[in-house]
Amino acid sequence: MTTLTTPQPDLLRAAHYPSTGNYLTHRKGPLSWLITLDHKRIGIMYMIGVCFALFLGGLFALLLRTELINPTPTFMSDANASFNFYNHMFTLHGAVMVFMFIIPAVPAILGNFALPIMLGAKDVAFPRLNLLSFYLYALGGLFFVWVLLAGVLNAAFDWSLAGGLDTGWTFYTPFSTGESTKSAVIPATMGAFILGFSSILTGVNFVVSIHTLRPKGMTWFRMPLFLWALYGTSIIQILATPVLGITLLLLIAERSLGVGIFDPALGGDPVLYQHFFWFYSHPAVYIMILPAMGIMSELISVFSRKHIFGYKFIANSSIAIALLGFLVWGHHMFVSGQSSLASAAFSLLTFAVAIPSAIKVFNWLATMYKGNIQLKTPMIYAMFFVLLFTVGGLTGLFLGALAVNVPVHDTYFVVAHFHYVMVGSMMMAFLGGMYYWWPKMFGRMYSEKWSIISSIVVFIGFNMTFFIQFIAGTQGMPRRYASYPDNYTTYHQVSTVGAYVLGVGMFMVLGNWIHSLRKGRRAPANPWGANTLEWHCSSPPPLENFARTPVADDPYNFKHWHWDETIGGYIHDGKIDPPRKGSGH
């Protein structure tokens, strides 16, 4: 379990192929995974769960797009020609994607895997809490699977299980409290509630780890920016998710006992529900995008072979986004009866939150400027991210403006906007991050050619699906409808074909990963020449990451990493800049 903190070239080289076991092999059998407290294994288990959720959510999306391929009912209408099944599909697509894919994806997979190693620590601060968090995720997921299965069974056999969900992922009252809704609001809200707890526990773990486990030499402003982003994310998880918890509890009480706090028929206030919901769910948008931005800061600096530009601005903008993100929730409620004073204030604050996001974009571009850009797969995804995030972010400003929001509210313009942020940005960053840390996670390289081809397919498919939805939206196509007037047909058909292309691209990515696991060549410890601490230990890392706590220096100083052809990776030259102190010798 040698680590690369020993500056002797021979040892360094030996460290690339450790003879002893790593975290994947040190113990075998399913049980050794299920009860593991190792943050890396928990991260991998999350990866399986999250990818399953992505598959489910993607499947729903493809079904929706297939239904929309022509204006008349295609295959989702039932006997009454009502579109219950369509309603169930878009609700579950949203709920599964948001609660089970986008929110946990980066923090729970890549964060869990990388955060402790980046801190030079053996594990997160509370490993048991970490495992509990995973099991809560699995349990919450089971609730959603139940809702889905029961819904399908109901449709297929005309049973009347509590299944299916047709409220939209937001569970708006009175959709979710109405007598007419036969759908499984209670199981679904229980699921989301439990997933929320899982998210809170991850946040608590990360905040405490970052506070107490940083190694010698790593001051706050020498932390990798990914950690800053995760810290900002954790703040949101801690401060916002409990409000979702209480909202969902109230909704369960509303539905099971009829407490009537949100139900207008019982003297309740449905707008208050939206305040509750968006107090969590708007900050949750930043739970989704902040970690992605953290990945970007790592990727762009490493693959431009250049120190990140404006480190402190990027770090502080993460915190600024986390805090400002709490002040803009009302922009989801412009047409829901919110007072005009609140709408105006929220509109203004929405513009304010664009500033730190723009700071990040400008700093990334400045980092790339005159850099020695290497077009590896992660970097390609990073560049997609910058482009698509700019589109998604700027259309967000359109929507933040009251006068524009009202006419395009609940149209495909909104759908396109948040898919540019959620899929175009967050998922591109997630894929980029997966490709970036893949060699570290599994000790295998992947086929660069196929990963680049698949990334291009994904990019084309994505834009084909969603760019045209901006136009459809401005033409007045409302969201959440299963049928539409003929003049929208072209838009929908292009979008549907794009969705298929995107689906093919995602399967190519999956195939590429599986191929890498089976046939990929052994990964060197540092294939990219990055200088954060996880690249200082072998690939895959040993069980406790480091035999001794390493000393951190500037995470974006790449000067001492040199390409070594025999290894196919970068090797540290052993020289140390003044602030960095070697250990051992």
């Binding site: 207008p264 206030d269 707008v271 002040l327 009866g337 007072s339 609140a342």
Partner: protein, 121 residues
């Protein structure tokens, strides 16, 4: 291993040299809490209009303050723990403040309509 153990800028060793709160302080705090409880009940008997709520809240905050400072050791603890508490209260205040302000403003739209028509479109 030992050489890298004393370094964290946040991780000192307060854990080992804790402040032991003296019985006198504990009992005084208890006494203050009892007195404030009686006070808050007593104040209700007097009609001060809108002021009543605020007095009750101020007394509650005072009670919470002594519990936090002495029972929860905030007075002797890392300042960061106090910051966490204050920040979380600020976010609660933000949430309540805006929801209250807004609901106050849209209330006329909710009132006076038959319940069923209040449903969102």
């Amino acid at each position: 291993m030992s050489q890298s153990s004393e370094h964290h800028d946040t991780a000192g060793h307060e854990g080992f040299h804790p402040h032991v709160v003296s019985p006198r302080v504990l009992l005084t705090v208890f006494g203050i809490l009892l007195v404030l409880t009686m006070l808050t009940v007593a104040v209700t008997k007097i009609d001060l209009g809108k002021l009543n709520v605020w007095i009750a809240l101020i007394i509650a905050v005072a009670k919470a303050g002594v519990v936090g400072l002495y029972f929860m050791h905030l007075r002797y603890d890392r300042p960061f723990h106090g910051i966490i508490l204050v920040v979380s209260l600020m976010f609660v205040a933000l949430f309540i403040g805006i929801a209250l302000m807004d609901s106050d403003a849209y209330q006329p739209n909710l009132q006076g309509k038959p319940a069923a028509s209040e449903a969102m479109p």
